[in-house]
């Protein structure tokens, strides 16, 4: 294997993209799932408040999603811009 400097940089950028998205996906997945589970629990207790509870769940999940989206942005930057 013959590695030049540019190739080395590009190769590690690709590896970084995979690591950023892969590791970055762990937290939001667990967190959003927990939020959704607790929303189900709350709706089980008070089904008449389902609208409010679902709205709160979605807002909370949207915030929790943000780190996943940061990872996606960084991964795409590493793939296509750097």
């Amino acid at each position: 294997m013959d590695i030049s400097g540019a190739d080395f940089i590009r190769g590690l950028a690709l590896l970084g993209a995979g690591l950023a998205m892969g590791l970055g996906a762990i937290g939001p997945g667990v967190g959003e799932g927990f939020a959704a589970g607790k929303a189900c629990e709350a709706i089980g207790r008070k089904p008449e408040e389902a609208g409010l509870l679902t709205r709160t769940m979605l807002v909370g999940q949207a915030v929790s999603e943000s780190t996943g989206i940061y990872s996606l942005v960084i991964a795409l930057l590493l793939l296509f811009v750097v």
Partner: protein
């Protein structure tokens, strides 16, 4: 000096150790948890020992199966033939060992969680022990499917004819294939175990909602499984996509990165969706009349939790197809 055969032989031994070492973690933890919970229950009602011990042993046997898959793969790798093999075999063996070993972790833990909660349920409601056992069996057998994905990829890596794949970047493709299925199996399998614990608990407390709970359990398990399926898909793509020979590091790292990305990316959504399903099932069992709104919220919540898994799938596909 080292010959190719020395490297391949060394890789066979290392991979065999990785397969069995990682593969033993989950089953050990899960079975220990099941035994602990069985004793926990029996300390309050020792007269139910026959039913509880029977249930504990059945649950432990299922948790053990993932470790047995790992043992079979480890033995196959250990006694594999190193002579006359291409250098790519070295990496394929490593991929096979990692795929099987990592995939077995979640399945053992998941099945153990389900078995432990079932023991507690039987102590509480011995009259429902058959239904509890059935629900536990549904959940813990679905927990084994990610380990089976890992085993399929390990067998493909061990027995596929690799001569068509160039060493560069093929080494990264086969290693990535192992990591993708192996890592992405951990989350869904544990998540499915968590979901099953509440279904088992619900059946124990409210046996009249048995059929609704089981139906919703299967829906929840099906969605939780999805990221393990993505991981399996990326592994198959890495094995069968067909790559041009390329000696650049970029080509190799792109493929390895695709496997790592989908592998890690599958862990979180699987765990999270399992937690969602478990809490939804708890209330579906308690209030089956609200199962419509509960299952709708469960599915919406799971869809959002799935999103990061889908981002990982997209990045992995971009790395394979575009880069």
């Amino acid at each position: 000096m080292f010959e190719t055969i020395d490297y391949v032989q060394a890789s066979l031994f290392l991979s065999s150790g990785l397969a069995m070492g990682f593969g033993a973690i989950g089953a050990g933890l899960g079975e220990g948890y099941a035994a602990g919970m069985a004793n926990d229950g029996l300390s309050s009602r020792p007269e139910k020992s026959v039913e509880v011990i029977k249930n504990m042993l059945v649950g432990q046997a299922i948790a053990e199966s993932a470790a047995i898959f790992a043992l079979v793969v480890a033995i196959l790798i250990l006694f594999g033939n190193a002579s006359g093999q291409p250098p790519l075999k070295l990496w394929a063996c490593l991929g096979a060992g990692l795929s099987m070993g990592l995939a077995a972790i979640g399945s053992g833990i998941g099945a153990g969680l389900a078995a432990g909660k079932a023991c507690i349920g039987i102590v509480r409601q011995p009259a429902n022990s058959n239904r509890i056992l059935t629900t536990m069996l549904i959940g813990s057998s679905v927990c084994q499917t990610p380990a089976i994905f890992g085993m399929v990829i390990a067998f493909l890596l061990l027995f596929l004819d690799l001569s068509a794949i160039p060493l560069y970047p093929g080494w990264a493709a086969v290693l990535g294939a192992g990591l993708s299925t192996g890592l992405s199996a951990i989350g869904p399998a544990i998540g499915e175990g968590i979901a099953t614990t509440q279904a088992v608990d619900g059946v124990a407390r409210h046996h009249e909602t048995y059929s609704t709970t089981n139906r919703m359990l299967l829906v929840g398990l099906g969605v939780t499984e999805s990221t393990a399926v993505y991981g399996f898909l990326i592994s198959l793509m890495l094995l069968f996509y067909g790559f041009e020979e390329s000696h650049t590091l970029t080509a190799s790292m792109g493929l390895l990165s695709a496997g790592v990305c989908m592998g890690f990316g599958g862990i979180g959504p699987g765990l999270g969706e399992g937690i969602t399903a478990s809490l939804a099932l708890r209330w579906i069992a308690r209030k089956p009349e609200d199962s419509g709104i509960l299952s709708r919220t469960m599915l919406v919540g799971m869809a959002v939790a799935e999103s990061t898994g889908i981002y990982s799938l997209i990045i992995a596909l971009l790395l394979i197809v575009v880069m």
